[in-house]
Amino acid sequence: MGTLKLLQGNEACAEGALYAGCTFFAGYPITPSTEVAEYLARRLPRIGGVILQMEDEIASVGAIIGASLAGKKSMTATSGPGFSLKQENIGFGMLCEVPCVIVDVMRGGPSTGVPTGPSQSDIMQCKWGTHGDHPVICLTPAYVQEIFSETVRAFNLAERYRTPVILAFDEIVGHMREKIEIPEKGVLEVENRRRPTCPPSEYKPFDETQGDVPPIADFFSGYRQHITGLNHASDGFPVNASPRIHTDELRLIRKVEGNRKDIIRYDTVLLDDAEVAVFAYGVSGRSGKNAVEMARAEGIKAGLFRPLTIWPFPVEEVAALASRVKAIIVPELSLGQIVLEVERCAKGRCDVQGIFRVDGDPITPAQILEKIKEVG
């Protein structure tokens, strides 16, 4: 039996990070994510870890990448405007293949927007926020317990695939308090990055002959290396030669896309015989579950598909779903972002209808039920 606690989503995220072995956090205060930093500020120093309040969000990502290069599991957390500021350095982390976790507790935008209001409108930014083609892993938990476990998974994926992982949840689940169980150490798997075993003189930080995820050496460990945000060869030094750039970019994408089966995770409710599906994540997924249960009580065959991994997108799963249901309903706290991705995968095989809301309130089960009846 683990420890039972009554925690806020943001606090559960901090607990998840500690469970996963995070010993370095850098951030800049912003609603509605600040509790992640406040919780870790009380905990990290006691276990010898580092917590820094940096001068801004740009510096926060820089610091966690620096710490990760020195071998520490590291994380930052932010919201809205802060997430925008972090983008350039997130791209650095992706190109240089530095494991770390970036938490975005979504609030209304653009600009200062609605600091205390929930939102799911950063979800495309999670994929396309930094410039250039790049790999993205983004997880979208919906329950406090799930924020804990998905934070652990975010660290594991970051270590396994040597890349920044984005954990995106909305203000409602970030601030909601629920009972959670923190498992004993060892119950959940905790993974560590593959480090080199070759002699330092033979080490190449981006050696593709070692597989799509080459081993990563810690700074100061004797494996002297050069890490640059310029496109680089396997030895880490800049190259301008186009074939090299091409193959390297492809490897970066492949190491995520080629491992979709391992990375993609989702939950379903009563989906097997459903005629109408609700596709929803985060707080909208919670409403979706209620709506489906209400519909079933009225004899309507509705089911829920709730992605825990939103990027890479569950393309095949949604395509298969689209072939067997009449309609997919996509409730989201934006003016229509992830619905586009669902439409793209459904390819016209079924009706796809969004429910959008940006007035600061969640989409209610009743709203979704109404739509289920409309299309069903």
Partner: protein, 277 residues
């Protein structure tokens, strides 16, 4: 005695990208001599940079090196230092990198007094992008984005650093090389945030557009304009124009950030052991 740089240079990575007449190579060699003199093991050293011509320096050096984003070297260096407080972390930066786009990180690192050595290679211009004005381009000078003469007032980098709380501030030039070696050693030896501004010349994008006909003219200008701080302070007011002080300009002792942090950690852990709950 001829100095052997081979131990510190990455094989096969030269020639460097710097133009003929650029003074960055002088600083590069001075830095290697300083580290060799100090006998710092290569595995204990990290050299971090942002983006720009100056920021290409780490690529040539066989230490732990990190070439980050424009202006962001100091945050990455802060992460490295706090992750491994037992190691030495140096930053090399251009004037734009350190004081324009990276200005916020620069002043906050000074305030924090974290043990990082920040070397600002001031060539008075944005070299890499081809000669746009920087926060240190003298008023009146031509730059591609100030084609009628720069009207944008300048930063004095040592004053900026001192005002922001740096505990060691110095200035050297690419002309006064033996002094430069000693200044780099002093900056690295200092425990706390040290800022060393090194006056450099960019003949390609600054000098030749601003009445320095040859690279040598830029070095001669350094020779004539730089004065050791003690001599500078003795100048009568009417002789100050066009001169600048060099050497260690400011120094004080103050708690270093990583030491203070880990002292806090130790205190907390002792309390826990003591069952203080």
């Amino acid at each position: 005695m001829a100095f052997n740089y081979d131990r510190h240079i990455r094989h096969g990575k030269l020639p460097h990208i710097w133009c003929p007449g650029c003074t960055y190579g002088i600083v590069f060699k001075s830095l290697l001599r300083a580290v060799e003199t100090m006998q710092i093991p290569k595995d204990h050293l990290a050299l971090v940079s942002g983006i720009g011509c100056a920021s290409r320096l780490p690529g040539y050096v066989d230490w732990n090196t990190l070439h980050t984003a424009h202006g962001r070297a100091i945050p990455f260096a802060t992460g490295l230092k706090m992750a491994r407080p037992d190691k030495r972390v140096l930053v090399v930066s251009g004037d734009g990198d350190a004081t324009a786009i990276g200005g916020n990180h620069f002043i906050h690192a000074c305030r924090r007094n974290i043990d990082i050595t920040v070397i600002v290679m001031n060539n008075f211009i944005y070299g890499m992008t081809g000669g746009q004005h920087s926060p240190t381009t003298p008023v009146g000078h031509l730059a591609t984005t100030m084609p009628f003469g720069n009207i944008d007032p300048t930063f004095n980098i040592p004053s900026l650093a001192q005002g922001a709380g740096a505990t060691w501030v110095g200035r050297g030039t690419a002309y006064h090389v033996p002094v430069l070696d000693r200044l780099i050693i002093g900056a690295i030896e200092h425990k706390g945030l040290s800022v060393l501004e090194i006056i450099n010349g960019c003949p390609t994008t600054h000098g030749r557009r601003n009445k320095f006909r040859t690279p040598t003219d830029m070095l001669l200008w350094m020779k004539e304009s730089a004065l050791p701080l003690s001599a500078f302070e003795k100048l009568p007011p009417d002789k100050v124009a066009g001169k600048f002080p060099t050497g260690v300009l400011y120094k004080r002792e103050a708690p270093e950030f990583s030491e203070t942090y880990f002292a806090m950690v130790e205190r907390l852990q002792k309390q826990q052991e003591g069952g203080g709950g």
